[in-house]
């Protein structure tokens, strides 16, 4: 299991969010999630311009084992998606917190509160530790 970068915030459903600046929050799934799913074979991403709501399903990651919904950690407008995943979904297995990002959101005003509710890396590490026992 790789180290969890300190600048990430997590949903309990294993999505991460990284605030890069006031207009840009990058979203992905955790390294723990990719390990549980196994080799990824397809990713269904939202379109640029789509509005997403925190807590709603906004993408699907599909592995050799199962299809799994991705829930939005924050509300906002999708401003970029990781097109490279269409041909190389395994990038998520290899680098879940880096090149395996899913999409970037321009957050709404209320996103600040939504981000507050997410888990910090220590709390998330504790969550997955408990899941494994």
């Amino acid at each position: 299991m790789s180290e969890i970068p300190g600048d990430l915030k997590f949903r309990k459903s294993h999505e991460w969010a990284r605030v890069e600046d006031a207009d840009q929050v990058r979203i992905g799934i955790s390294d723990h999630a990719q390990a549980q799913l196994g080799d990824l074979v397809y990713v269904e991403l939202p379109n640029v311009g789509d509005r997403i709501e925190a807590g709603n399903a906004c993408a699907v990651v599909e592995s050799v084992k199962a299809a799994s919904d991705v829930y939005a950690p924050v509300s906002g407008e999708v401003v970029a998606v990781n097109e490279a995943l269409a041909d190389k979904p395994e990038t998520i297995n290899e680098d879940a917190y880096g090149d395996g990002w899913l999409f970037v959101v321009k957050p709404d005003a209320e996103a600040k509160d939504e981000l507050e509710e997410l888990l910090d890396p220590d709390a998330y590490a504790e969550l997955i530790e408990n899941e494994e026992h």
Binding site: D39, V41, Y42, A67
Partner: protein, 364 residues
């Protein structure tokens, strides 16, 4: 309490992700299911299949017993060592299990049945054996390792006693022979498998299984888990018991007509039900499917036909084809315009002949 094979510690030490499979704690993969799949298609991989059940049948009337018990005809087995794939049916023609039977002598046949069906299989076999004076012995002390892939035989042959190597190398497909392995361990080596690749299934005393596994690993055979086993067997067009057929499904409805022998004068269990269903028209059939769109066909998804509907039985992302393939059971004759419902979206399906992959190359 889940059961463990003798190789359980070895799997865990190799970092395997373990899952419950039919009451057994088995390796799903050792890191990457896709890499294990490709290792078998391109080189050599090995599977711990010790959870499967080996049953030895002894007695002067064993062949007669198997003529009665199995839907395929053991009269096809003429030379000792020869193996046959068959279904074992109930009176309704439903499949109790699928198995491989080896002819080892007129008074000695060996069958290998599935793990999840062990209890009911043994009960069924034991119920009928006394009438033929056949003794039924489960060989729980035997482990089994499948070595599969284009280089599997060469790598396994290198571990055999020099005096046995030539004879085992010459074994035809679906034939087994005895040989000595590392340290002269006694092996039963069968040129069979469940991947569509050449290779061996090796039955070994439990006490020697770890040593054999390690010797194979040292010879360059990659450990592979149940995940890869499932994608390899479906690409090869092979059925999985419990998913593609069960006690309420006849071989006609499961794409297994080729395993049923309606030879004259042989009254096997389920025969009259099969004949009756054939006369009346078989209502459903098993078809092979390819999904050209993105997405993965999975067990239980609805298949929509022009008239009526069916369902996906086994469905996977095929690593060799780079797209999803499946078996589905659909109304008989409903091969045109099939669509699958994946999370509310209807995607078109293409019906293809299977195997989907032969000798490592895409067929469909």
């Amino acid at each position: 309490m889940t059961k463990q094979t003798i190789l359980n510690t070895t799997h865990r030490a190799a970092g395997a992700k373990m899952v419950d499979f039919g009451g057994w704690d088995m390796p799903l993969h050792y890191g990457s299911q896709l890499e294990e799949h490709h290792a078998v298609r391109r080189d050599a991989g090995m599977f711990d299949v010790s959870h499967m059940t080996v049953v030895d049948l002894h007695g002067a009337h064993t062949r007669e017993f198997l003529r009665h018990l199995l839907a395929n005809s053991v009269d096809k087995l003429k030379a000792p060592g020869k193996a046959l794939y068959s279904c074992m049916l109930n009176e309704r023609g439903g499949v109790i299990d699928d198995l491989i039977v080896y002819f080892l002598g007129e008074d000695f046949f060996r069958v290998v049945v599935n793990a999840a069906t062990r209890d009911k299989d043994l009960a069924w076999i034991r119920k009928q054996a006394p009438a033929f004076d056949v003794s039924v012995t489960e060989r729980a002390e035997l482990a089994m390792i499948a070595v599969q892939g284009p280089n599997a035989r060469t790598k396994a042959l290198g571990l055999l006693h020099a005096d046995d190597r030539g004879r085992i190398e010459k074994l035809g497909k679906f034939v087994a022979g005895e040989a000595r392995g590392p340290g002269d361990m006694p092996l039963f080596v069968a040129r069979t498998g469940y991947t569509g690749e050449d290779g061996f299934e090796i039955i070994v005393p439990e006490t020697d299984a770890v040593a054999l596994w390690n010797a194979l690993a040292a010879a360059g055979v990659a450990p592979a888990g149940l995940g890869a086993r499932d994608t390899l067997r479906l690409e090869a067009g092979m059925n999985l018991y419990g998913q593609d057929m069960d006690e309420d499904i006849t071989p006609w409805e499961a794409g297994l007509a080729w395993t049923v022998s309606l030879d004259a004068g042989r009254d096997f269990v389920g025969r009259s039900a099969l004949e009756k269903q054939k006369e009346g028209g078989v209502p459903r059939e098993l078809v092979g499917l390819v999904l050209e769109d993105k997405g993965v066909l999975r067990h239980g998804q609805r298949v929509l036909a022009v008239v009526g509907e069916g369902e996906i039985l086994s469905g996977i992302f095929s690593p060799t084809l780079g797209k999803s393939i499946a078996f589905a059971r659909v109304p008989a004759g409903a091969r045109d315009n099939l669509r699958v419902d994946i999370r509310g979206r209807e995607l078109p399906l293409r019906v293809v002949k299977y195997p989907f992959v032969r000798d490592g190359k895409p067929v469909s």
